[in-house]
Amino acid sequence: MSGRLGLLMDIALKHLARRRRQTLVAISGVAVGVGFFLAVSAMMIGSQRDFIDQLIDAAPHIVISDELRSRPPQPGVRAFPGAAVALHGYKIRTEVRGLKDWPAILAAANMLPGAIGSPSLTGGVTLRLGGHEEALGIVGVEPELETRISTIEEKLRAGRLHDLETAQGGIIVGEELARRLGVGMGDIVAATSAPGTTRSLRIVGLFKRGQSQLAASSGYVLLREAQSLLGRPFIINRIGIHLSDPYQAEPVARQLEARFGYKAESWQERSADFLSLLVTRNVIMYSVVSAILLVASFGIYTVVSNSVSDKRRDIAILRSIGFSEFDLQLVFVAEGIILALAGVLLGWLLGYGLMAILGSLEFPIAGEDERLPLDRSPRQYAIAAAASLLAGTIAAWLPARKAARVDPVDILRGAA
């Protein structure tokens, strides 16, 4: 079998060598298609992965808050299910906000495999300094736990999250806010909460600029400091959960929400709009690059089709010698595969080179030189090769069927 295939391959190679210019054009077409597929997909997938990583890392993978998806039924409805058709004008009891029995929720979260939970309390305060006021959302955290569930530490320009524990009344704010207030590290600002409590807070850390996920108007304080400032001792209204596999966030969130009733929001739910945009972007990208590869395969079709037309006499000779129809079909399909294979190998080199160039470019973003995030995984090389080989095989197979149908008698009689 290998001898036969080797012979058919020899014939195919000789045909291609004879049509050198067309062969080079077809190979170049595939190479350019593959090269640009690799470069474009490396950028698209790289940026997508970087974006998703940012989405995942921006906040805990699951956030349980003291909100409910829908209001709980009224006591009358609970007592007589189905009896009350509709209730109007009733007075809703004011309930104290916060996660009830949160230590149990936290313990349940920590029991999940690979999960770590961190309690926090959020609320609003006003920072005052020299007559200037800035509204600020504060997040009270346990630094030890928070550093394990988030990447806040990496986003600090100055200070550390643990400094909240060592400095009395410490607060970490964004660089922009600090600039607006005219304060820096170690400076003290006055913070007043809605209940009217006022505290002096010392700046112990600054977030880097451009960290939109941390917002320009939010700050971190110690959990007990937040509870004291907001007048809500022992209360938390948020549990952030970090999972070892972030992609399990959705089912785990559903499970926790079903168990405790509080809204448990996964990072996928939080970023649903962005993720659906990414799907659209991927569909567009793969459509465009598929079109490039398809156009490249037209070159292969042309070469093989011309080869079949030019080699009708040779086909008749080979048939008379004893080559089967399938043999002849294989010869011309092999021509297509050889062209596609050579194009893929050159395209890989071209793509590698393009990625090297793109990867070396630096762009100033938010005051820092950033490089393009590129996905250089072998998967993209394999997809490009598989798509090109498939397109090349189909492009060659169409004219190859014509070769198999050549009637040697017509050719031999015509030549005689």
């Binding site: 012979l7 008379s320 129809e325 008698v409 009689r413 005689a416």
Partner: protein, 235 residues
């Protein structure tokens, strides 16, 4: 004596309005070691009969027996296999593959049959070229060979798989008298010394005279079958 190839009322009619009869009711028998020529005016169906006998074309009627087995209804692959193993073809135009050297052209059927490894196939092809007086031309492509040399390469290729039957269609049609004589001598040797049957379509009276059997055709029909005295011609 048993027949190598036997045709019984073989017909080939091209469909159309009206249908065209290429070969009508052809019956003949070929014995091993015989040299048979098919003669007749142009368009009388000589080549068509040869293509039917060589399994290149399919008959529309009648029976073709190869060593007693009916081969007229075989499928394409089986016919290709028989052509590869049992038949050798030589045409008026040399019909060598232009990209391949003389040696590679002779090796084509051997490699396709796959019974010999590459080095043995090469040795076999070189032997055949040597027998044809072309050992010095083995590496040359057809465009660097003379007409006579090309035809001798084609004969060497026809013999590559040790066939029992050689079919030739006007093999000297494009050759000068000297080269024609060499080709005729080669066919005689193939038939008488090697015991293969040779069937040759020709206008060349020299070839016809050298044959054991002469089949004359007219308008698609066999009109006469003559045997030379002492030949092993058809029954």
């Amino acid at each position: 004596m048993s027949h190598l190839l036997e045709a019984r009322n073989l017909r080939r009619i091209l469909p159309g309005d009206p249908p065209v009869t290429l070969v009508a009711e052809a019956s003949l028998a070929i014995r091993p070691g015989s040299f048979t020529t098919i003669v007749g005016p142009s368009g009388c169906g000589k080549s068509s009969l040869l293509y039917l006998l060589g399994l290149i074309d399919r008959p529309t009627g009648g029976t073709l027996l190869l060593e007693g087995n009916d081969v007229s209804a075989l499928d394409g692959d089986a016919r290709a296999r028989l052509r590869l193993e049992r038949f050798g073809f030589v045409f008026q135009f040399h019909f060598l593959l232009p990209e391949f050297s003389a040696l590679e052209n002779v090796m084509l059927p051997i490699r396709r049959l796959g019974r010999l490894d590459h080095s043995m196939a090469e040795a076999r092809a070189l032997d055949l070229l040597k027998a044809a007086g072309l050992e010095g031309e083995a590496g040359k492509t057809p465009d660097r060979l003379s007409g006579g040399e090309r035809q001798r390469v084609a004969i060497a290729r026809a013999l590559a798989n040790d066939p029992t039957l050689i079919l030739a269609d006007e093999p000297t049609g494009n050759l000068d008298s000297q080269n024609s004589a060499r080709v005729i001598a080669a066919f005689r040797t193939i038939a008488s010394d090697q015991g293969r049957a040779v069937i040759c379509v020709t206008h060349d009276l020299t070839i016809a005279a050298a044959a054991d059997v002469r089949i004359s055709m007219l308008d698609g029909r066999i009109v006469a079958i003559e045997s030379s005295p002492g030949s092993t011609g058809p029954s």
